[in-house]
Symmetry: C2
Subunit: 386 residues, 2 copies
């Protein structure tokens, strides 16, 4: 396999409720931004991560649609879907295509247009990432599933609502410095704890929002990047991808994310590094509890220690384990198919030293963890300065 680098990243300028734009509009903005950032004059292939353009926008077949609207007629383009891990899966597919030698310049994009349907319809669409027959039919939706994970974590490890709230406070502190964030403002723990309860113990400020957004990255062989890229090439040092039972009830331990642990194990082995060698982490905080169980499953802290580590500031931007410097899904927004690509975008910007006020000084290596459903899919990438 050839080594692969990321030479361009981009997103539509502002994530949020974009009622004046359609799915195709925001994707093309993101793709053109990434192409411009990379300075390439063509792409050889495209993968688009998208969870449910069918249910959210009445539009499947977006590989053809988006290649067409991007002005790239005849471009080989396919949609990739692994629920909320679709963006990460698209980056992995693009990396494999470049690694294989089949193509030299591949665009990995992600998009979700979620606000053109009513709230109930959005909750239904998101629920299709769970087991329709054994979870959704019985009334379970994602706030409820993650609330069960939170309850189990509290019971087993003594995790508190204040620890959960601190995840939201920290991520909003980071997102307040990110121009593309949907909710770029600071919040206080008391606001989280006083906000309406969605699914006990998760308040509404424990939940990531419904978002319209798109992101894109340009991949090419590392050797080509070193010769031709105007920007600092960022190497994909490792990746991992795994699944788990789609049903939460089938897991041996609800507080442990087996797919994330397995994907991380693969990525760390491929990169030849350990968690201690990584300078920053973009992880899947769809709910505050998710960030806690993710960083435990990645091995950044021990089982049951994530809440305490968060309260102590270890995962803050200036801590020893900076997590979600972009603002995460919580503040930046969570257009599900785009999230995994935007995680990669944040790490690339950090490693290039382009993260402005959010910059982690001297960052040389970063990790992304993108997750589908209640943890049924996970994709991990380890990126480093080439």
């Amino acid at each position: 396999m050839r080594d692969v680098a990321i030479i361009g990243v981009g997103a539509n300028p502002k994530w949020g409720e974009l009622w004046g734009q359609s799915l195709r509009d925001i994707f093309v903005e993101a793709a053109l931004a990434a192409i411009d950032d990379a300075g390439v004059d063509h792409v050889d292939g495209m993968y688009v991560g998208c969870m449910s353009s069918g249910l959210f926008a009445g539009q499947e077949h977006i590989g053809s649609l988006l290649a067409d609207y991007l002005g790239q007629r005849h471009l080989p383009a396919t949609r990739v879907e692994s629920a909320c891990a679709s963006g990460g899966a698209a980056v992995k597919m693009a990396a494999l295509e470049v690694a294989s030698g089949h193509s030299d310049i591949v665009l990995a994009g992600g998009v979700e247009k979620m606000t053109d349907v009513g709230g109930g319809d959005a909750t239904y669409a998101l629920g299709t990432a769970a087991d329709a027959e054994y979870e959704c039919y019985h009334g379970a939706t994602f706030p409820g599933l993650y609330a069960m994970i939170a309850r189990a974590h509290m019971d087993r490890y003594g995790t508190t609502p204040e620890m959960l709230a601190q995840v939201a406070v920290k991520n909003h502190d980071n997102g307040a410095l990110n121009a593309m964030a949907q909710y770029p403002f600071h919040i206080r723990a008391k606001q989280v704890l006083d906000s309406i309860m969605v699914a006990d113990p998760l308040h509404i400020l424990d939940c990531s929002p419904i978002t319209d957004g798109a992101a894109a990255a340009i991949l090419c062989p590392l050797e080509t990047a070193k010769k031709l890229s105007k920007k600092l090439p960022i190497k994909i040092a490792g990746f991992g991808h795994a699944t788990d039972t789609i049903q939460l009830a089938q897991r041996e331990d609800m507080t442990w994310l087996g797919a994330t642990a397995k994907a991380a194990e693969q990525a760390f082995e491929m990169a030849g590094v350990a968690p201690k060698d990584v300078d920053l982490f973009e992880v899947h905080d769809c709910f505050t509890i998710a960030e806690l169980v993710v960083i435990e499953s990645l091995g950044l802290v021990g089982k049951g220690e994530a809440g305490k580590a968060t309260l102590e500031g270890r995962t803050a931007r200036d801590g020893d384990l900076p997590v979600n410097t972009s603002g995460g899904l919580k503040s930046k927004g969570h257009p599900v198919g785009a999230t995994g690509v935007a995680q990669v975008m944040e790490v690339v910007k950090q490693l290039r030293g382009e993260a402005g006020e959010r910059q982690v000084a001297g960052a040389k290596r970063g990790l992304t963890q993108n997750m589908g459903g209640s943890g049924g899919s996970a994709v991990v990438h380890i990126l480093e300065v080439a």
Copy 2:
């Protein structure tokens, strides 16, 4: 890139209206049949082609779901979507992953469970393969779009309803010999021409049906296959993948499938062969007119000559260009995400000499052409005896 072979194929035993089984049931049947046919004891990765499990079955995230129900917890598994070309795209992704050296044994599957919704909902779901904003909102669905292609072909080349009907007659003659076919019976041209008109000039017997079905193939490096496979290994000699405008109205020529022509050009170049070197063809006859414009766009016959070639029997099983020996989408059924994989299955069986009464004598090389929408995506594979 490593050379890649197909060492196992399988499908659920009978395609049709399978109200007693769910999406997960039929997929697992197909995957286990392919695994058994290949004689492997594990797989390293899985791609599942599926157009719209969200709209047809209220279930996205089937990478996780199907790996789980296949008993393969933690298997890297992703859904691939290119509308009705999703199955072909899944085979291509699997081939790239094996070619790259990242994985040795990869399962490419396809599935669609289409009959659990009402007819109107199925037509809506299929319509999402067209341009939602510029075609569907204005009332166009696929019978209408293909009827426009048929009208244009008739006007330009003098193609007749009898020529269209003969495509159906021929494919049912083949499908009558295929145990898995949804409609395994012979029909006469008069029955086609007397059947109710769906979208002039397409009668209902010019249309492929709504089908529940699944298919799977097992891919591995050619060198491994030669050493270990008990069955005759079938090499993937070439593949191609291209898109076109998703909107029919944007094409320069409605009777020419640019994505198919481009994908075929790539596949023929990669395989180092020409149409005359290929012994049989499985192509996307979602409507009878589709088979005609496909075989012209593949270069099997000249522009405007497909209708005449069909009436002359050239595309029959014993003709010089055998097309759709399986029965095609028309007789075998068209579970959209599974179709591209089932095309590969038919060619593998023919090249192994396992096609029974449908066998094309001495077949050594075959081509599959899988298409999305009104031709907005196309995936072509060229398979040959290794």
